[in-house]
């Protein structure tokens, strides 16, 4: 049971981690994350890396859609921009991979600002539709700007190298991808402790009031697009180094729907929600795969069922969570925590 904390400074009151128990859990989590790769087999390492990438991207989308209230179906396209940038830089400029990732993020941020320009004139649903349009136009560019993007064949990506060693195994990639994702999540959490994050939330809740308070709407909406797309671009770059190839089929509207689902299922407007949602959505297909394999002795061609079943489940998850638990899994987690705050004196 948690008894109130006595903080002596305002800084302590505003901190991300406030109690000794929270510090303890954080330390356990960090130790667990650091030690896990030594215990996990290759399949789970693959999943862990994929979760890291998805968490990074979902956190970015959460900033735009969950916190600022600008629904975007373009996350996949922004990730593609990052991935293609990384692939191109890798092939034509020999910069270190961290620089490439950063450049991928910047490129995606620039595109994000362009895509956000319609928010000058429209908001809400109309803006969401504009992002669909932008996604399709970007897809066209990826497919047809063959000199840069390799057209429909896509591009291969050489492994990233750190201090001379190429990162080819999941074990190695884990130790790069997970810290990057963790830093990105921390940055997002920090953002919402400052005036910029508050301004984003204000725009979501009541943009007229935000204007009255002196927040320039267009500038901040574009800023939100920029930050969120930066995150997507970096995640896309990580994706490129992980899968070592990128093509126009890698990031379509289906992927954008995936990340939107992750944000909805996890909990919009909650950093924890972004993490939970991305983890959950990454693991769901694996659970489905188990299920399909389990029934394959009884059903012919069960393997071909995997993709459509996944599509149905994604759609169903979006619907179920929006109807029954609009605040997502994060809210369920908070309910459990509140329960334990008062336990054993529950009422």
């Amino acid at each position: 049971m948690r008894i109130a904390t006595a903080n002596e400074t305002y800084l302590a009151d505003e901190a991300l981690i406030r109690t000794r128990t929270q510090w303890a859990w954080t330390a356990v989590l960090a130790a667990g994350l650091a030690a896990a790769p030594f215990a996990l087999n290759n399949y789970w390492l693959y999943l862990a890396c994929l979760v890291a990438i998805n968490v990074a991207s979902a956190t970015g989308l959460n900033i735009l859609t969950g916190y600022t209230g600008l629904v975007s179906l373009g996350q996949g396209a922004f990730m593609a921009v990052g991935a293609y940038t990384v692939a191109w830089l890798d092939r034509n400029v020999g910069a270190p991979f961290l620089v490439n990732l950063f450049a991928g993020g910047l490129m995606a941020a620039a595109v994000g600002i362009l895509v956000g320009l319609p928010s000058l004139r429209v908001k809400g649903l109309y803006l969401a539709i504009a992002t669909i349009g932008a996604s399709i136009i970007l897809q066209f560019v990826f497919l047809n700007w063959t000199s840069v993007t390799g057209g429909s064949r896509g591009m291969n990506v050489a492994p990233a190298s750190l201090f001379g060693t190429p990162l080819t195994t999941y074990f190695q990639l884990y130790f790069v991808l997970v810290p990057i994702a963790a830093l990105m999540v921390l940055g997002a959490a920090n953002l919402f402790r400052t005036r910029i994050g508050r301004a984003f939330i204000a725009i979501r809740d009541r943009d007229i009031s935000a204007e009255v308070l002196g927040i320039p709407l267009l500038r901040y909406k574009l800023l939100s697009f920029a930050v969120s797309s930066f995150y997507a671009g970096v995640a896309g770059g990580m994706w490129a180094y992980f899968f070592r190839a990128v093509g126009p089929e890698s990031f379509t509207i289906v992927e954008s729907i995936f990340y939107l689902a992750a944000v909805i299922v996890g909990g919009m407007g909650s950093i924890l929600g972004g993490i939970i949602g991305a983890t959950f959505m990454t693991l769901v297909p694996e659970v489905l795969r188990f299920g399909v394999e389990a029934i394959s002795p009884y059903v012919d061609n069960a393997g071909t069922l995997l993709s459509p079943v996944r599509t149905v489940v994604f759609g169903a998850l979006i619907i179920l969570f929006l109807v029954f638990e609009p605040q997502g899994l994060a809210e369920i987690v908070q309910r459990v925590r509140r329960f334990f705050h008062l336990w054993p004196f529950r009422k």
Binding site: L11, E14, R193, T194, R195, E211, V212
Partner: protein, 283 residues
């Protein structure tokens, strides 16, 4: 008390506003003295809220000017006005429901803060310092002042109507305004809440020295705390002056039907009754 910003003078000159063929405001001129509490009153549909929206920058009048300490601000956008020192509350509460009381109030200071994106992402360093400074100032000058310590971590959606209005006032104060525009600050409040709010508004005038312009229907409160009253009807000024002068003005009484002093009314009725008895008729 806070390093109060110098209270500003507001002048409205010859303002006219039309919506299509409808003249909402017709050549209105009045002044708000620095550091005073001025009330803008009038029956429903008189044009008070339109006037307010012109002053705060949401409507652009067809003719006339709004001057802030002499400077013409008629065409200035709301975000820029916030930086100049305009703060405004809304008739229907415009708090951010997804945030706590404290966060809402902190947002008031947004325009004056300097944390940029990179500092925000890192947090430790300049952003943290600014946040702590802001928190200390808000706690000391605003939360204690408006007696809302007990609710500062609560989400605003969970508060009662009266407390929400108080939080909105708090947020407006966080802007360190040079002029505070209050749109029906006690609308929908009961007697106790109204008295509390009136007390707070007077405290703001005394301790912060801010110029206050308010639109209000509650005559009792208006007459109690205002230094100056401007009466609008059908988009025109029909009276202005000290509260008791305006209250006795026959045009104002006519506009409101019965906002006169009840004692005077009683005397008048009694006098009419006597006159009736004197002439022998039934009263």
């Amino acid at each position: 008390m806070p390093d109060a910003m110098k209270p500003a003078r507001l002048d409205v000159e010859g303002l006219s506003l039309s919506f299509g063929g409808l003249r909402a405001i017709n050549d209105v001129t009045f002044s708000v003295e620095p550091g005073s509490i001025t009330a803008l009153i009038g029956p429903n549909g008189a044009g008070k809220t339109s006037m307010f929206n012109c002053i705060s920058g949401f409507y652009k009048p067809q003719r006339g000017a709004v001057r802030f300490d002499g400077e013409d601000v008629t065409r200035v956008h709301p975000p820029a006005r916030a930086r100049m020192g305009f703060a405004r509350t809304f008739q229907n509460i415009a708090l951010f429901r997804g945030m706590t009381v404290l966060d809402n109030i902190k947002l008031g200071r947004h325009a004056h803060m300097r944390t940029n994106l990179l500092q925000a992402l890192a947090f430790f360093g300049p952003a943290a310092r600014e946040e702590v400074e802001l928190r200390a100032e808000v706690e000391r000058d605003i939360i204690d002042f408006l007696e809302i310590n007990h609710i500062r971590h609560m989400p605003v959606a969970a508060l009662s109507y009266g407390l929400q209005k108080r939080v909105e006032l708090a947020r407006a104060l966080a802007m360190r305004p040079r002029i505070l525009l209050l749109d029906e600050p006690v609308a929908g409040m009961n007697r106790e809440e109204t008295e509390d709010m009136a007390r707070f508004i007077l405290d703001v005038k005394e301790e912060w020295g801010t110029t206050i312009l308010m639109v209000e229907h509650d005559m009792g409160m208006v007459m109690d705390i205002s230094d100056h009253v401007v009466v609008l009807n059908f988009g025109q000024v029909i009276a202005r002056g000290l509260p008791h002068e305006v209250q006795a003005d026959p045009q104002v009484v006519a506009a409101y039907l019965g906002s006169g002093d009840p004692a005077a009314l009683m005397k008048r009725l009694a006098a009419e009754a006597d006159a009736g008895a004197a002439t022998g008729g039934t009263a």
